[in-house]
């Protein structure tokens, strides 16, 4: 009887293969299927390969693309969530190539390992726009341009702000003990911000970096690591936290350890990203300064795409405008304008 089941399976396989031939290869040679045709006629199809949805920043970033590339604006957006894995992202880009999108927007998880897949995109004639994080490739022509924040500049500005702030507080000559909550190691934000701050740090002999630990950009981890740091270092004057989510966690840890932070507290907190909640924290006096890492890349990318559609050349590296906030500003007003 096994023989019959075998026949059954073979028949099935044949059916399926036949189906494939019919639905797959045949229309392929003649014309694209109806769906894609409609897409190609009416819309510019954008494929977005996003890292995940691990933080508010990321969600604001995704949201910015979603609200920019709408049908009303003449776009069709295919969204691929890589759930923090490069392998998923590689597959996502390949799938997008196969789906013949017009542009691929890639927010790379790590810096390396992109050559092949970008080559495939190039071969398929699909321009790739990198956003947020940067990559290392042998041939810079593999991608069209990069849009994002200048992390090193952010770090440098944070250092500079700290120097100014300490001076204004009259603590210029004091021994300043600093701890850093780093982001996910080897991410461009982590490298940039750490190095930028290091640039300023090395110019100040009285600043001492007690410890740098990774909080992996998450709130839970930030809280955990900060709790640990507080227990192993008695005196901490400054906390540099490389994103807001970690900062929130760290503040929890600081408070539950019975310490205080912010302008009136004993630990100066400098954070990055400046999401809405962080501004609220600033209002409550828990964060001293926050350096924006603007997630609203949608409009800028959309402008670039318009230029490309028009056949223009675009700049290879495009920094997005960024600001910073500290407690001396009119936070009420900022908060009102803040959309994320």
């Amino acid at each position: 009887m096994k023989r019959y089941s075998g026949i059954f399976v073979v028949v099935l396989l044949a059916c399926a293969a036949g189906g494939w031939m019919f639905f797959g290869c045949v229309p392929d040679e003649k014309a694209p299927s109806q769906d894609t045709m409609q897409d190609e006629e009416d819309y510019i199809v954008i494929g977005l390969s996003q890292i995940g949805s691990e933080s508010d920043w990321r969600n604001a970033n995704t949201g910015s693309f979603r609200s920019e590339f709408t049908a009303e604006n003449g776009y069709y957006l295919l969204f691929e969530d890589a759930q923090q894995k490069q392998e998923n992202q590689l597959k996502a880009v390949r799938d997008l190539i196969l789906q013949e999108v017009d542009y691929i927007i890639l927010d790379p998880i790590v810096e390396t390992g992109w050559d092949t897949v970008l080559m495939e995109a190039k071969d398929a004639g699909i321009p790739v726009i990198l956003v947020d994080r940067q990559i290392v490739v042998e041939d810079e022509d593999l991608y069209t341009c990069w849009v994002g924040s200048d992390f090193r500049e952010e770090g440098r500005r944070a250092g500079q702000w700290l120097a100014d702030y300490l001076e204004s507080q009259g603590r210029r000559e004091e021994q300043i003990r600093i701890v850093t909550l780093q982001g996910t190691l080897d991410s461009s934000a982590q490298i940039g911000r750490t190095m930028g701050f290091q640039d300023v740090l090395s110019a100040h002999g009285n600043w001492e970096m007690l410890e740098r630990r990774s909080g992996e950009f998450t709130q839970a981890k930030g809280q955990e690591v900060m709790r640990d740091l507080l227990q192993s270092h008695k005196e901490i004057d400054v906390l540099i936290s490389e994103n807001d989510n970690m900062t929130f966690g760290a503040i929890e840890a600081i408070e539950s350890a019975g310490r205080t932070c912010g302008p009136d507290g004993d630990i100066i907190v400098i954070s990055f990203d400046a999401v809405r909640t962080a501004i609220q924290f600033m209002q409550e006096g828990k964060i001293n300064a926050d350096f924006e890492c603007n997630p609203l890349l949608g409009p800028k990318v959309s402008k670039i795409i318009e230029e490309l559609e028009a056949g223009e050349r675009v700049e290879k590296i495009q920094y997005i405008e960024e600001q910073y906030f500290d407690t001396s500003m009119d936070l009420e007003k900022i908060l009102e304008e803040r959309t994320y």
Binding site: F23, S33, D81, G113, A124, I126
Partner: protein, 340 residues
């Protein structure tokens, strides 16, 4: 018996479940082609599913072996991560060569298999708890070997990684009209070889059949003169060995070492085996089914993402629904058996 008389009742449990799996897979794929078109019409989409899941296919084969004997192994994901990290470190920091790293991968897999197999088979410890510990251990050890995720730059390895096997006649023109050959990665070839070898092993060797015997009723198997302990032991060792191969294929696919690699791979592998018709209670299962089980999961992911659904949660839910469905089918088959 004439073909007319053929009915589902005549199928063995293994073949019945296998048939269900294959039917579901092809219905799903044909449905995707019909309703989503786009990328699914291209053979390369299918090959991409294979490329992305080659390692999972191998891991699932190992799990199927263990599950057929009535056991379970949830350490395979951890072992995969450990292997990719060890190989990456070895290749990049110690200038090792690729073939030695392959041996290392197999060695690690075997070591886990032998250790766990011994504890399970000869000390009668529940396989679930011991392989759970194995998973913990492998994951932790991965971080101890190296914390940071990094891409391997070793030339020989990169060359191997980029090796592609062209599938003749399956290519398609891309949007520029250039004909692109369809390809699979080296890992897929390995995976298919593994599937064939394991299929033959289970189908035609005495040891393979005794796997079924032990899983079906280990008391009977003992009475039939099968060395039950040794059979169980071998199933774990083979699973370990396949985890070694799968780990290396995974490493070859991602080309990097990271503690976060292959998270949840063990659960995916178990789910694939179940969907592929491997009975949890042992004694029923088929490697071909497992192969299609993996493909079904991969296809679901593709369908979900190209349908524009937010992949991160939709794929989770659809997979769970599918798993639930197949578990209930198995349960019903079991009930049917008991009644008869």
């Amino acid at each position: 018996m004439k073909k007319k008389k053929f009915s589902l009742k005549d199928l063995t449990d293994t073949n019945l479940l296998l048939t269900i799996t294959i039917v579901v897979f092809f219905l799903m794929y044909i449905g995707a082609i019909l309703f989503q078109g786009g990328g699914f019409t291209k053979p390369q989409t299918f090959f991409n599913i294979l490329n992305a899941n080659a390692a999972l296919i191998i891991l699932s084969c190992g799990l199927s072996l263990v599950m057929i004997t009535g056991g379970i192994d949830i350490s395979v994901g951890g072992v995969t991560a450990l292997i990719s990290m060890c190989c990456a470190v070895y290749l990049d920091f110690h200038g090792g060569n690729v073939s030695t790293s392959l041996l290392m991968a197999l060695g690690i897999g075997l070591a886990f298999g032998i250790f766990q197999g011994f504890l399970v088979a000869y000390l009668d410890i529940q396989p679930f708890i011991i392989t759970l510990a194995g998973m913990f251990f492998a994951r932790g050890l991965t971080t101890i070997v190296n914390t940071k995720p990094f891409n391997v730059a070793n030339e020989a390895f990169t060359k191997l990684k980029l090796t592609r096997v062209i599938v003749p006649g399956m290519g398609a023109p891309n949007r520029r009209g250039v004909y692109v050959d369809a390809y699979v990665e080296l890992g897929v070839v390995v995976a298919i070889l593994v599937v064939i070898v394991m299929f033959c092993f289970l189908r035609w060797t005495k040891l393979g059949r005794s796997f079924y015997a032990v899983g079906g009723n280990h008391q009977s198997a003992l009475m039939l003169g099968i060395n039950v302990k040794r059979t169980r032991f071998i199933s774990h060792v083979l699973c370990g060995l396949l985890a070694g191969i799968g780990g290396f294929v995974y490493f070859l696919h991602v080309g990097s070492g990271s503690a976060a690699h292959a998270t949840g791979a063990e659960m995916d592998a178990i789910a694939s085996s179940i969907i592929g018709g491997t009975m949890l209670t042992g004694g029923v299962g088929n490697i071909v089914g497992t192969f299609f089980g993996v493909l079904s999961l991969g296809t679901i992911q593709n369908i979900v993402s190209s349908a524009g659904l937010d992949e991160a949660w939709w794929s989770g839910i659809t997979r769970a629904v599918m798993l639930c469905l197949f578990l209930v089918i198995q349960s019903v088959v079991m009930a049917r058996k008991k009644k008869a």
